[in-house]
Symmetry: C2
Subunit: 298 residues, 2 copies
Amino acid sequence: MNRIEICDVGPRDGLQNEARTLDPGIRAQLCDRLAAAGVPRVEAVSFVHPKRVPQMAGAEEVMAALHRVEGVVYAGLVLNERGYDRAIAAGVDEIHYAFPATDTFCERNQGMTVADALGVGERIVGRAHDDGLPVSVTISVAFGCPFEGRVEPAKVFGLAETLTGFGPDELMLADTIGVGVPSQVRELVAGVAAFGLPVGCHFHNTRNTGYANAVAAVESGVALLDASSGGTGGCPFAPRATGNIATEDLVYLLHGMGLETGISLEAMLETAAWLSEQLGKELPGQTYKAGTFAPVAA
Amino acid sequence: MNRIEICDVGPRDGLQNEARTLDPGIRAQLCDRLAAAGVPRVEAVSFVHPKRVPQMAGAEEVMAALHRVEGVVYAGLVLNERGYDRAIAAGVDEIHYAFPATDTFCERNQGMTVADALGVGERIVGRAHDDGLPVSVTISVAFGCPFEGRVEPAKVFGLAETLTGFGPDELMLADTIGVGVPSQVRELVAGVAAFGLPVGCHFHNTRNTGYANAVAAVESGVALLDASSGGTGGCPFAPRATGNIATEDLVYLLHGMGLETGISLEAMLETAAWLSEQLGKELPGQTYKAGTFAPVAA
């Protein structure tokens, strides 16, 4: 396997945790820049209530304003069926549903237990099937929870087995608060992949383990990784923490290891610099500041 | 192998690339904090000419002011025999000699060719043997050179073979400008280890590959890693770039993977926060900002 698919979740997971809210038009421009750079999949919007996440208000406007590029998948995150209705109406290409692995986080984030969130997931996967849309399900805080601490792998495996029964197109394991390490990645990926669905990973670089985790995931057979241009985002539970692993730094790393992504590193460096200006701050991505280097692999 | 030895090079490689110069007394305090945290080896000083690297002026004062802890090795970097004389007079426990793998960088950094630098290395290793001191030799820019680009592994292997003949106690491979990726790490470590000496690695996180490289090194059998508390340092060739991988983030990662370092993570987080104050800036280390988390491995 020489090709890794990167889904840029910057327009959603990145921007929803930034202090400065960007207008839908700017967020659509970000999606356009990502598509132009060759990013095959973009998590463009979140259909959460704008009162809960003001940074994500105007998801429909974002979807209407972006210029679709043939072959690029524009996905929307939904947390419930009301969000699903909006996603369908806005014309997303793919549904992303996510819920936390722990009850405490699930209650705080989604106002329900994990058992109830599984039920919502079953209905959303079923509706996506009926509507002929691909659907991806993410298990959040799979590597650790800010409230409950370490999450037992057996818990994640149990959720993955149940979800596999619903028949989504893939399962994503998310280290939402950036506490995971490569040995955990290998254990969780191997255990979840055993149920038979494609497994992807979503890492935050909160404690500088994100890129090492990404390498461990790829070496465990994962062919789909989330990342955000510039490494935007943060963690509501750690105010000084940074966000997702940066798409352009991940591309630098993967290309250096001889893996393909189909993404132009140069275009992504320009996008990170542009996004830094839009947000009025330096972003955690490093390569856009340090510059590229003669390729380390042919 | 469950134990990884970390050498904190912050007092030397970290601080020599910081804009603010710290007094020898503060640098000695940093060494004391590292020793108290359980760091087994500290690169405390550099015996370069203070006109060339003002941040390293007063190496003798640092060595005189620090409070030696039994079992901790206080090393000094030397680039020539004059530096070696000073290191002996100052009472270091261990000699570190470093030279770049490429002629262009070697001329710029040390005013000589690689061939000449090998000759200096042979004499320094010989003198350390005569003086009964351990001596470590670092091949700098082994993963890439800002002037010559990619460094062929064969070049590094040739240098390593010659150096092995001199009989130092270990060889270090340094990614001085932070361009390496894990596949390179594995190739270089395997090739150099074949000559029979213990191999250590020195990574910079300039493009966010440093921690992934550290994991690759450990998995390749490397039991010695350099790091700097807080991730201090930088790169004269990339003004906005960050420095070494941060000791505390590396400790978080290694401990999470069930490896031992003998270092207190809590003490290192306090040291990073203290050093951030001394330097008057936020440091690249992440865990001291994000906070720890319930241990991910027992």
